[in-house]
């Protein structure tokens, strides 16, 4: 089998060069060295003006990087960073002035207060399924304004703002400005370290999956609600910390300056400019924008500065939607893709043929095998239309069960409900003896059910390898990141996709994308695999390869449920078939037996004219598939 040029399991390729382990340690070491070098500067005679400039740079790096943890990684763009920053500022301001707490102690409390607010906001907002995209952005903006009004009108501020000139600055360096420099450096370093660690972790890949396709991520086993909440807590906590430092730096805190629109806008701009999908993107953007704005410091130029900011934002969206680092990454990926394509064409065909050629033992399934999945009166309605109308199904271990029926009969809905993609409207599902019907989709995945999508839905910005590794991490196997990648390589070899491991899914053809769906589903180590029209759109020889693959999967002990229209594949593979018709189960039995029944033939081919319908007949509710 080809693959001499294919990288070994240790190095997972990708446009981001995101490696499971080695890469992260290297980056952290680099950051540490950089931080130490920068920390030494105030002690070796850095001019004060530079200390102030770099304070600003670190300040924005910390803010933009922390923003990116939720908004860039998970794709939930927030306009509320000002709120978290402001909470941090006011926590420090109030604690130092009214409670005489030493400044240093207030910093962790500022971070905590902001994180709590962020978590509370997230706990409520993330529960509502449709709060995404623009709606989430507006919600965070509204929350900021509410917070500002509350603070302004209560004794926290009350109106005149809070003065901190009497508060002592900790002496970390020889001068106050030096101390602030070091504090800001610390915050920036913390933000970047967190960003790197998350980027390389299981948590991080889950967040990126959420960004690409949250619903599929959930079905693959990613606990989306929990992950988003943690990301928001980290993000808001760091922002609060930065706010605490800033409170003492400016020594005068008002709601107008703190909770205005400028901060959220600037942070968004910096991250978008640098690239939101990369841990260093926001930092790059922060440095670029701060440098830019420093050129516009006098009053008149402040206005020109804002014009430039607006133009940069528009320019980036129109011409560089992936940001500076994103564009650079894509160029690298394109080069790799072209190389990969040429190699793949040579190797891929061989791999797939080889995979298909491996003999599979077709053991007849045991009719007395235990029941793996049972549904009782399973129902699903959409807007009053009953897509599934009380379906009782038993799936036995080790069998290949075919779900057939005309379009709109409910087969795909059945799969969607069992896998947790839709919530059942009624009835029960029992899997391996345990009830399943009301579980969150990611728990369904953990219990050992995996499915493929009729129209492949890979995570567009994760490589082929990462797509498969994600399933291994969050499926029934629940592996750690390194193990998951090793496992992913196995499944890529099994499906003949090993040579495309480092490519992005959009460079694969339809056949390869379908096989990627297979690999993803298998990597979850499911007991029950549900395939939704996996053969549609394939050429006859590709269908043969897929059929051989399915047989090998079954030989490995997986139970398979299979929605399909390609009849010769159904005849070749299925032990039993179920015929759906308008949301109900019409027939079940072996393929030959069922297809000979007149009512099944009628359902598929349509019936003879039964004569005039009775006058005044009430048309029954029509049934639509999902």
């Amino acid at each position: 089998m080809g693959g001499a040029h294919v990288a070994s399991g240790r190095e997972s390729l990708g446009p981001i060069g995101r490696r499971a382990d080695g890469g992260m340690k290297r980056k952290l070491a680099l950051l540490l060295v950089l931080a130490i070098a920068l920390a030494a500067l105030p002690f070796v005679g850095l001019p004060q003006s530079w200390e102030s400039i770099l304070y600003l740079v670190f300040h924005w790096i910390a803010l933009a990087t922390s923003w990116n943890l939720l908004s860039g990684y998970a794709g939930y763009f927030s306009f509320g960073h000002g709120a978290f920053f402001g909470i941090g500022m006011y926590t420090t301001a109030v604690l130092t002035t009214r409670f005489d707490m030493p400044f240093a102690w207030t910093l962790p409390l500022a971070a905590l207060a902001a994180a709590l607010f962020g978590s509370a906001l997230g706990a409520v907002a993330f529960r509502v399924r449709s709060v995404r995209g623009e709606v989430f952005a507006l919600l965070t903006l509204a929350a900021t304004f509410v917070l500002a009004t509350v603070i302004l009108n209560t004794p926290i501020d009350g109106g005149p703002g809070v003065y901190l000139n009497a508060v002592a600055v900790p002496t970390l360096a020889r001068t106050a400005s030096g101390s602030f420099y070091l504090l800001a450096l610390g915050a920036a370093a913390l933000a970047l370290v967190v960003a790197v660690v998350v980027f390389h972790s299981r948590f991080g890949i889950g967040l990126f999956a959420i960004r690409d396709d949250e619903d599929v991520a959930e079905v693959m086993g990613v606990p989306t609600y929990r992950y988003k909440l943690v990301a928001l807590a980290l993000s808001s906590g760091i922002a609060g910390l930065v706010g605490g430092v800033q409170a003492l730096f400016v020594a005068y805190v008002t709601t107008a300056d703190t909770f205005g629109i400028a901060l959220p806008l600037t942070v968004v701009l910096m991250a978008v400019l640098g690239g939101t999908r990369h841990w260093a993107g926001p930092a790059v953007g922060a440095i670029a924008i701060t440098a830019l704005l420093l050129g516009f410091t006098s009053a008149d130029n402040a206005i020109a500065g804002r014009v430039v900011l607006g133009l940069v934002l528009i320019g980036v969206i129109l011409f560089l939607p992936d940001g500076l680092l994103g564009g650079w990454m894509k160029r690298g990926a394109r080069v790799r893709r072209l190389e990969g394509d040429a190699a793949a064409r040579a190797v891929g065909a061989d791999e797939i043929a080889a995979a298909a050629a491996s003999p599979a033992l077709r053991e007849p399934s045991n009719p007395d095998a235990p029941v793996l999945l049972r549904t009782r009166k399973l129902a699903k309605s959409f807007d009053g239309v009953r897509a599934l109308d009380g379906v009782d199904v038993e799936i036995r271990r080790g069998e290949i069960l075919g779900l057939l029926g005309p379009n709109g009969s409910g087969k795909s809905t059945f799969i969607n409900v069992v896998s947790g993609h839709y919530l059942a409207s009624g009835g029960q599902v029992e899997f391996d003896g345990r009830p399943l019907a009301r579980l969150a989709a990611h728990r369904v995945a953990r219990s050992g059910i995996a499915r493929t999508y009729q129209i492949p839905r890979p995570f567009a910005h994760l490589t082929v390898l990462e797509n498969v590794a994600l399933s291994a991490m969050f499926g029934a196997g629940s592996l750690g990141r390194r193990q998951a990648e090793a496992e992913a390589w196995e499944w890529l070899r099994f499906t003949g996709l090993a040579s495309r491991a480092g490519s992005l899914p959009d460079s694969l053809n339809l056949h390869q994308r379908k096989f990627l769906e297979f690999a993803r589903a298998l990597a979850a180590r499911p007991q029950l695999l549900m395939l939704d029209e996996v053969l549609s759109g394939l050429t006859p020889s590709e269908i043969d390869a897929a059929v051989a693959l399915i047989e090998r999967i079954r030989a490995g002990g997986t139970t398979i449920v299979f929605v399909e229209h390609v009849m010769r594949a159904v005849a070749a593979l299925c032990d039993r078939v179920l015929i759906f018709d308008r949301g109900e189960l019409l027939a079940s039995g072996s393929f030959a037996e069922v297809m000979a029944r007149p009512e099944v033939v009628r359902a598929y081919l349509g019936q003879e004219d039964e004569g005039a319908s009775p006058a005044g007949a009430v048309e029954p509710e029509a049934v639509h598939a999902a």
Binding site: V128, L138, L139, V146, I303, V307, G310
Partner: protein, 284 residues
């Protein structure tokens, strides 16, 4: 918390309705854009204020604000259509169009500050101080004009949307563009026209703002939160929605200001917005 007199309360309610009229004007374009074009267009605010300042400037040169009402909208129509063309040409996603419109508003705000400085500007008209007194309540003329315009526009848009072929075509294209196209609806042209219309509505809103409020560049973002609440409460894409919701919120705000402290008023709209976003995210 002493309850003010009936007269004061009545005045507050009337004041709230007038404020609501402006919310309705600003919100109309935003609502149509969000509901029918799937774009959240923050540029409405920038454009409205640009128009407000231009009306002020025209007044300084002797051209009455009411002429500005006729002169500015066509110009802004072209600007709006052009912006839409750019957004479509670059295939900007709905979320990114929010960011682009944000950028445009920032630029407009900066330009306004550059040309007219941050000082407060007041558009003075000869009729600006005229007031009608009805049952003990004062009804200033500029506010009445604004209310009349707001209602007239809502009615006009409603008529076009409900009764005319073009209105129907726009609604069809918003719901299912490919099928609308299959029936001969030139969806791209309609989108440009609708964007132009929204910009023209912003221009009209701006002139009305100039008539009734003192202008300052910092004001632009002050309206964002409230108007979003108004738009969502009124239902996306519904012509009467922003005006009715605007008046409702305006009245509640005014009463809050009269009964409790003025500074609490923003809390009303933003809290309402928060609740709405959670309970009725308003996806068209």
């Amino acid at each position: 918390m002493t309850l003010p007199s009936a007269g004061l309360l009545a005045q507050a309610v009337v004041g709230g309705i007038f404020t609501g009229a402006v919310y309705g004007l600003l919100g109309l374009g935003l609502s149509l854009s969000w509901g029918l074009l799937r774009q959240i267009n923050l540029a409405q605010f920038g454009l409205a204020f640009a128009s407000a300042y231009l009306a002020y400037e025209l007044q300084q040169h002797g051209i009455d604000a009411l002429f500005a009402l006729v002169l500015l909208p066509p110009v802004f129509f072209v600007i709006g259509a052009a912006l839409q063309w750019v957004v479509e040409r670059f295939r900007v996603t709905p979320f990114n169009s929010l960011l682009v419109s944000f950028g445009i508003t920032i630029i407009l705000e900066a330009l306004i500050q550059w040309i007219w400085t941050a000082d407060y500007r007041r558009l003075e008209t000869p009729y600006g101080d005229l007031k009608l007194k009805l049952a003990g309540v004062y009804l200033p003329l500029p506010e009445m004009i604004t209310l009349a315009i707001s209602a007239a526009l809502a009615a006009a848009v409603w008529l076009v949307m409900r009764r005319s072929d073009i209105g129907r075509a726009i609604r069809a294209a918003a719901e299912d563009a490919p099928i609308a196209i299959a029936f001969g609806i030139h969806q791209k042209a309609l989108a440009l026209g609708l964007a132009g219309l929204n910009a023209a509505l912003a221009a009209i809103a701006g002139v009305c703002i100039a008539l009734t409020y003192t202008l300052a560049p910092s004001q632009i973002f002050a309206w964002v939160g409230v108007v979003f609440a108004v738009v969502m409460l009124g239902g996306l894409g519904r012509p009467w929605g922003p005006l009715i919701a605007g008046c409702a919120i305006g009245v509640v705000e005014a009463l809050t200001m009269a009964i409790a402290a003025p500074a609490w008023a923003p809390l009303v709209s933003f809290s309402l917005l928060l609740l709405l976003l959670l309970c009725r995210p308003g996806r068209a």
